[in-house]
C-alpha cells in the first residue's frame, strides 16, 4: 500500500501527463447478481453487536471516544468533528486515526519533503514517466521499458516479531510495485541491527533473515543487494528496510487510480481477519462492554502473518488481469488495510465510493466495521473494474484460485460511504482521510553536542605503526562485523530465480537483465553510512547518495534515479528534526548536482528506545541502467591473466566516522569525509567508458574500511592473489584505511593499461597504479607491510557471521 498518499517527495507530474484517465466508456449494468467466488465468510453484523452508525453518531454527540488511545491529539479529534460536523463513528474514528498517523500521513515530514519537489529541475523530471509517483517512482530506461522501484521500512514489527515482521515487509513492498502495473523482478534489503555479539541480535537477525528469505524465495524474486550493518544504537530498534524493483513496458502505464461512476470495486486475494488491528481493538473493548470472551474476539498478535504462496499467485493473477486489460485502477492493501485503500482510491478518483462491508470475505466471526476497515491481513489487493469486465475479472481470479468479491462501486457523490449490516457507518470526504491530514511544523534545533562531536578528532587516535600492527589491523578489520562477509545472510536468499541475475551479492551493486534479446539491464544499490550522518547529517546524506551512485557505477551502469528510506528518531525531538531536515536538504541538493531525480521515498520516525535514538539513517536506493549486461564489470580480480590494479580518486587523511575508528577505538567523532559529487560523476563516466570499451576487468568501490578492505574483498571474491605497492612516500596507514569518498579500485588488463590511464589523465581523474594481480600467488602481498595468505584472509572475512549466528 502507499503509506504516502501524495508522496510529497515525488515531483509533480509534468503537464500533458501521459497517464490515461479512467476509461469512462459506457458502463453497462449487467442487472445480474454478481456471483462472488467465495461467499462463506462471516458477516460483520454477527453476535448482536450494536452498530455505531452515522445516524447514531449524530444523535449521540456527547459520547466519549477513545481517540487518545488511538493516537489522535485533542486538536486532531476536534478537527475530525469539524470536518464531519458531528462526532465520528467508531469506524470513522478508526479510519482517521490510522490514516492520520505519522506512518500514513507524513505529518511531521511533509514540510521538509516538499524540498525534493522544489529542487527537481525539468531535466531531472524528464527522466521520469509523468503522472506516476504515488506508490513508487517510474523511470524510462529505453527501448520501451520502464522500471519502478521503492524502499520501505518495516522496522518496528521486525523488532517485535523478527521473522513475520521482515517477511510482511517484503510482501508489502512487492504489492506496492504490483500496484504500479509492473512485474516485480528483484528485491534487496538494507538491514541494521544492534551489536553483532549482543544476545538480542542473535534473536532478531536470524529471524529477520529467515523471514526475508522465507517470503522472498517463495515469491520467486531474486535478492540482489542490500546491506547488513551493526551499531549499538539499533539494539532495541533494528532497521528492516525492503526494496523491490519492478519492470513494465512504458506503454502499460495506464493503471492510475481511476474513477468512472458505476465501476465496481473488487477486493481480491486473502480473506480479511483480525491480524494487525492492534490499536483499533481499543474501540471494541470500549464500545462493546469489553466482552472479549465471545466468539472471534480472540486477540491476535499485532504483527501480521504473511503467506508468500498467496502473494506469488496474486502476482501472477494481477499480471494476467493487467495483460487482459481488465483493471481501471488498483491499490494494494497493507498498513491501514481497507481504510487506506478505499480512501486513497476514492480520493484519487473524481467521484465518491460506496462500500458494503457485509461483502468482505472474513476469516474471523463477529468482526466490527472498524476492525474490518483496519485489518492488516496480508496479500490483498483492491481493483476498480468496469461492470462489463467483472465476469472476466472473476474468471481470471478463479483460474488462480484467488478469492475475489465485489465490495462496492464508484458513485457520482462526493463522499466515501461504507455500509455494514445495512447501516451507514462511514460517510466522509475521502480526501480528508487520505490526503488532508494534519501537517506539523515541528521545532528544529541543531543540538549543541554536534560541536563537541566535531571537535573529537579521530586523527589523534593511536595508529598502527609497524608492519605487524598494520597486518593485524587488516585482518581485524576484515573480520569485524560490519566488514566481514555477508554470505551467512545472503546465502539464505535465492539470487538465481528467473535467470536474469547478472551480478548479486557480494558485488557492490546488483545487475539484472531486463530484455533477453537486447541485453538491456538495470543495476541497483542501497547505501547509508549512518556514522557519517551522525557527524554531519547534510554531508552524511550526500555521502550515502555518493556511495549508492558509485556502487551502481562500478558495475558499468549509468545511475538514473533515486529512492530513499529515511529512518530517524522521534520527530518530537528538535535535534532529530534538525538531522532530518539536514539530511533531506543534503540528499535533494546532491541529486540536483548529480542531475538525477528522487522518484519517491519513505519516512520512518520514532526509531528510538527511551531517549536514545538511532543513528540518523537515510538509506539511499539507486537505480541505474546498462545497455548491454554482458558488459557488466565484476567485483573479483583474476578474470584475465595479467591485470594491473589502479586506484582511482584522491586519498586524504579522513578518519571521521571511519570503520577503523569504530573497530579499533570504538570512536565516533570528527567530521566525515569530504564529498565531491562532480568527482563522483567523473568517476562514473570513466567506469562506464571502461566497461563499454572493455578496458576494465574488475572494479570495486572504496568505502568502509578503505583500500585495505577493497583489496581483501576483490582478491577473495576473485579467488586470486595480488601484489600491492603503495606510492613512494605514502603513509601506509592512511592509504590502507582512510575512507575518502570518490574512489574505486579497478583491475585493467595489461593490454589496456595505457589506453585506460591516458583516458584518466585526459579526463583529469587521478589514477594511481598500486599493484598487479598475481594469478600464481595465493596471497595478498602489500609491499613493506604484509603478505597474507588468501586462506588466512578468508578465514577472517568469512568466519565472523557464522561464528556469531551458527
Amino acid at each position: 500500500m502507499s503509506n504516502n498518499p501524495e508522496d510529497p517527495q515525488a515531483p509533480v507530474a509534468a503537464s500533458g501527463s501521459a497517464v490515461e484517465a479512467a476509461t469512462d466508456g459506457p458502463t453497462v449494468e449487467t442487472g445480474t447478481e454478481l456471483s462472488t467466488v467465495h461467499t462463506d465468510g462471516w458477516g460483520p453484523d454477527g453476535a448482536g453487536v450494536p452498530t455505531d452508525s452515522v445516524g447514531h453518531a449524530r444523535n449521540t454527540p456527547e459520547h466519549t471516544q477513545p481517540y487518545r488511545e488511538l493516537g489522535l491529539k485533542d486538536d486532531e479529534y476536534a478537527r475530525i468533528r469539524e470536518i464531519l460536523d458531528r462526532r465520528p463513528t467508531e469506524a470513522e474514528l478508526a479510519m482517521y486515526s490510522v490514516m492520520w498517523s505519522e506512518h500514513c500521513s507524513y505529518k511531521s515530514s511533509k514540510v521538509h519533503l516538499k524540498y525534493f519537489g522544489e529542487t527537481t529541475t525539468p531535466e531531472m523530471r524528464a527522466k521520469m514517466l509523468a503522472g506516476i509517483g504515488e506508490n513508487a517512482g517510474v523511470v524510462d530506461i529505453g527501448d520501451g521499458w520502464a522500471v519502478t522501484f521503492k524502499l520501505e521500512s518495516h522496522n518496528h514489527p521486525s523488532y517485535v516479531e523478527p521473522h513475520e515482521g521482515a517477511a510482511t515487509g517484503v510482501g508489502g513492498i512487492v504489492r506496492d510495485i504490483m500496484a504500479m502495473g509492473a512485474r516485480p523482478v528483484a528485491v534487496a534489503d538494507p538491514l541494521r541491527f544492534g551489536p553483532a555479539d549482543a544476545p538480542d541480535t542473535a534473536r532478531v537477525l536470524p529471524g529477520v533473515v529467515g523471514g526475508i528469505g522465507g517470503y522472498g524465495n517463495c515469491l520467486g524474486l531474486p535478492n540482489i543487494g542490500g546491506e547488513v550493518v551493526f551499531d549499538e544504537t539499533y539494539a532495541s530498534n533494528p532497521l528492516v528496510n525492503a526494496m523491490c524493483v519492478g519492470v513494465l513496458k512504458s506503454d502499460d502505464l495506464h493503471l492510475a487510480h481511476a474513477s468512472g461512476t458505476g465501476n465496481k470495486l473488487v477486493l481480491f486475494g486473502a480473506r480479511t481477519g483480525l491480524d494487525g488491528i492492534g490499536g483499533v481493538s481499543v474501540l471494541a473493548s470500549e464500545t462493546f462492554s469489553g466482552d472479549e470472551s465471545g466468539a472471534g474476539r480472540t486477540k491476535l498478535p499485532s504483527v501480521q502473518v504473511g503467506d508468500p504462496f498467496t502473494e506469488k499467485v496474486l502476482i501472477e493473477c494481477c499480471l494476467e488481469l493487467y495483460r487482459s486489460g481488465l483493471v481501471v485502477g488498483i491499490q494494494d492493501l497493507g498498513g491501514a488495510g481497507l481504510s487506506c485503500a478505499t480512501s486513497e482510491l476514492a480520493s484519487a478518483g473524481d467521484g465518491g465510493m460506496r462500500v458494503d462491508l457485509d461483502e468482505v470475505p472474513l476469516r474471523a466471526p463477529g468482526m466490527t466495521p472498524a476492525e474490518i476497515l483496519s485489518s492488516e491481513s496480508q496479500e490483498r489487493m483492491c481493483a476498480v473494474v468496469q461492470p462489463s469486465d467483472v465476469d472476466a475479472f472473476m474468471q481470471v481470479c478463479e483460474k488462480w484460485d484467488i478469492t475475489a468479491t465485489v465490495i462496492g462501486e464508484v458513485t457520482d457523490g462526493d463522499n466515501l460511504e461504507v455500509y455494514a449490516g445495512g447501516e451507514l457507518v462511514v460517510d466522509v470526504p475521502p480526501r480528508t482521510v487520505a490526503h488532508e491530514g494534519p501537517v506539523y511544523e515541528r521545532p528544529v534545533a541543531r543540538p549543541a553536542e554536534q560541536d563537541l562531536i566535531a571537535e573529537d578528532n579521530p586523527n589523534t587516535l593511536p595508529r598502527p605503526g609497524t608492519p605487524d600492527e598494520l597486518r593485524d589491523t587488516v585482518l581485524r578489520m576484515a573480520a569485524s562485523p560490519n566488514l566481514a562477509s555477508r554470505d551467512w545472510v545472503t546465502g539464505q536468499y535465492d539470487r538465481y530465480v528467473r535467470g536474469n541475475t547478472v551480478l548479486a551479492q557480494p558485488a557492490d551493486g546488483g545487475v539484472l537483465r531486463v530484455d533477453e534479446d537486447s541485453g538491456r539491464g538495470i543495476a541497483v544499490a542501497t547505501d547509508c553510512n549512518a556514522r557519517y550522518t551522525r557527524l554531519d547529517p547534510y554531508r552524511g546524506a550526500q555521502l550515502a547518495l555518493a556511495e549508492a551512485y558509485r556502487n551502481v557505477a562500478v558495475t558499468g551502469a549509468t545511475p538514473l534515479a533515486v529512492t530513499n528510506c529515511l529512518n530517524f528518531g522521534s520527530p518530537e525531538d528538535p535535534g532529530v528534526m534538525w538531522q532530518f531536515q539536514q539530511a533531506v536538504r543534503g540528499l535533494a541538493d546532491g541529486c540536483v548536482e548529480l542531475g538525477i531525480p528522487v522518484t519517491g521515498g519513505n519516512v520512518s520516525f520514532y526509531n528510538q528506545t527511551g531517549v536514545k535514538s538511532i543513528l540518523p539513517t537515510p538509506v539511499v536506493g539507486m537505480l541505474g541502467t546498462i545497455d548491454d549486461v554482458t558488459r557488466r564489470i565484476p567485483t573479483g580480480i583474476g578474470e584475465e591473466d595479467g591485470e594491473t590494479l589502479l586506484l582511482l580518486g584522491d586519498t586524504r587523511e579522513e578518519f571521521g566516522g571511519s570503520e577503523w575508528a569504530k573497530v579499533t577505538h570504538d570512536h565516533l567523532g570528527g567530521t566525515p569525509p569530504e564529498v565531491d559529487l562532480a568527482r563522483e560523476k567523473l568517476l562514473a563516466e570513466v567506469l562506464r567508458a571502461g566497461s563499454r570499451d572493455g578496458m576494465v576487468s574488475a572494479a570495486h568501490d572504496l568505502s568502509e574500511g578503505g583500500l585495505a578492505q577493497a583489496l581483501v574483498e576483490t582478491a577473495l571474491i576473485g579467488e586470486t592473489g595480488a601484489r600491492v605497492v603503495l606510492p613512494e612516500g605514502a603513509d601506509p596507514f592512511v592509504w590502507l584505511f582512510s575512507e575518502s569518498a570518490g574512489r574505486a579500485l579497478v583491475a585493467v588488463p595489461r593490454s589496456e593499461e595505457l589506453r585506460f590511464t591516458e583516458m584518466c589523465s585526459a579526463r583529469e581523474l587521478p589514477c594511481t597504479k598500486i599493484g598487479v594481480v598475481d594469478t600464481e600467488s595465493r596471497s595478498l602481498e602489500i609491499q613493506d607491510v604484509a603478505a597474507i595468505a588468501l586462506t588466512e584472509l578468508r578465514e577472517a572475512w568469512e568466519g565472523t557471521l557464522p561464528q556469531l549466528f551458527g
Partner: protein, 239 residues
C-alpha cells in the same frame, strides 16, 4: 560443451523435439526451465497443473519452486494435481521426466523416484554455487557428461537432504542410479552426498541442483547444466 548462441535459434536436429514444463501455483523456476529447453533448440511447451493431458510432449520437466506453497510437505499436494496423474501414467510408459529441486520432491512424493527430501542439516535455506561429480553417464539426462566430470551448478533449497532407507541407498548405488554427488562440501546433509538419482530405466531423473540456472556464465556460475538438456535432446532426436 557447445550450445546454440541464442535461445531462439534451433539446431536442425532439434526440430520437432517438444519438452513440456509444468507450472503449478507456486512454481518459480518454470521460466528458467523453459529458457534452458529453448537454449538447446527444443520447443518449450507450458503445461498447467490443471491440465488433463500432456499435449503430446516428448519429455517433461517438473521445475523448482514452492508448488502449492509446499504446505503440508514439499511436493505433497502437487502430486494430486490432474497433470501429475497424467505424468505418472506417461512416465510408466517411458516418457522422459526430469524433476529439479521442488520437481524432484514432487517426483519422490508421486512415487516415480524412491526416497524423500528433508530439511537441510543446517536448518537454513542454502543458495550457493555447488560442485558436483557426475556418477552416471548412461541415463537419458546425463549422456553428454564424462564419467567423473565435475560440474559447478547452483543449489537453492531449504529441504534438499536426500533420505532413503539403507536398502534403497544400496540399491541405487549398486545399480549405478546415483546421477550426481555433492563434492567439496555437502550443502544439506544428503545421505551419501547424493544430489540426484534416476529410476531403473534411466528415463525419470530428479536432482536438487539447478542445471537450468547454469546454462550461461552471464547469469549462472557456468554453463555446466546445459549437458542435461542436450542429453535429453540427443535421445529424443535419435528416437
Amino acid at each position: 560443451m557447445s550450445a546454440p548462441a541464442t535461445e531462439n535459434s534451433r539446431t536442425p536436429a532439434a526440430d520437432g523435439a517438444r519438452i513440456g514444463v509444468i507450472t503449478f501455483p507456486g512454481s518459480l523456476d518454470d521460466v528458467d526451465a523453459q529458457r534452458a529447453v529453448r537454449r538447446v533448440g527444443a520447443e518449450a511447451v507450458a503445461l498447467w497443473h490443471g491440465d488433463h493431458d500432456l499435449h503430446g510432449v516428448d519429455a517433461v520437466i517438473v521445475p523448482g519452486g514452492f508448488s502449492y506453497g509446499d504446505y503440508l510437505r514439499c511436493g505433497a499436494i502437487a502430486k494430486f494435481s490432474p497433470v501429475m496423474t497424467e505424468l505418472v501414467e506417461a512416465a510408466g510408459k517411458g516418457l522422459p521426466v526430469l524433476g529439479i529441486c521442488n520437481g524432484f520432491q514432487v517426483l519422490c512424493e508421486a512415487g516415480l523416484l524412491p526416497g524423500a527430501l528433508t530439511r537441510n542439516a543446517g536448518l537454513h535455506f542454502v543458495c550457493r554455487d555447488q560442485w558436483l561429480q557426475v556418477e552416471n553417464t548412461t541415463s537419458l539426462w546425463t549422456t553428454r557428461y564424462e564419467p567423473g566430470a565435475e560440474l559447478l551448478i547452483p543449489v537453492k533449497h531449504g529441504e534438499g537432504s536426500y533420505m532413503a532407507d539403507r536398502a534403497t541407498l544400496d540399491e541405487l548405488e549398486g545399480e549405478g542410479r546415483v546421477l550426481l554427488r555433492y563434492v567439496d562440501g555437502n550443502p544439506n546433509g544428503s545421505a551419501r552426498d547424493i544430489a540426484g538419482i534416476t529410476d531403473a530405466r534411466g528415463r525419470v531423473a530428479g536432482l536438487m541442483p539447478h542445471p537450468e540456472h547454469a546454462i550461461d556464465p552471464l547469469t549462472g556460475p557456468t554453463d555446466d547444466g546445459l549437458g542435461m538438456f542436450l542429453s535429453a535432446l540427443d535421445a529424443l532426436v535419435a528416437a
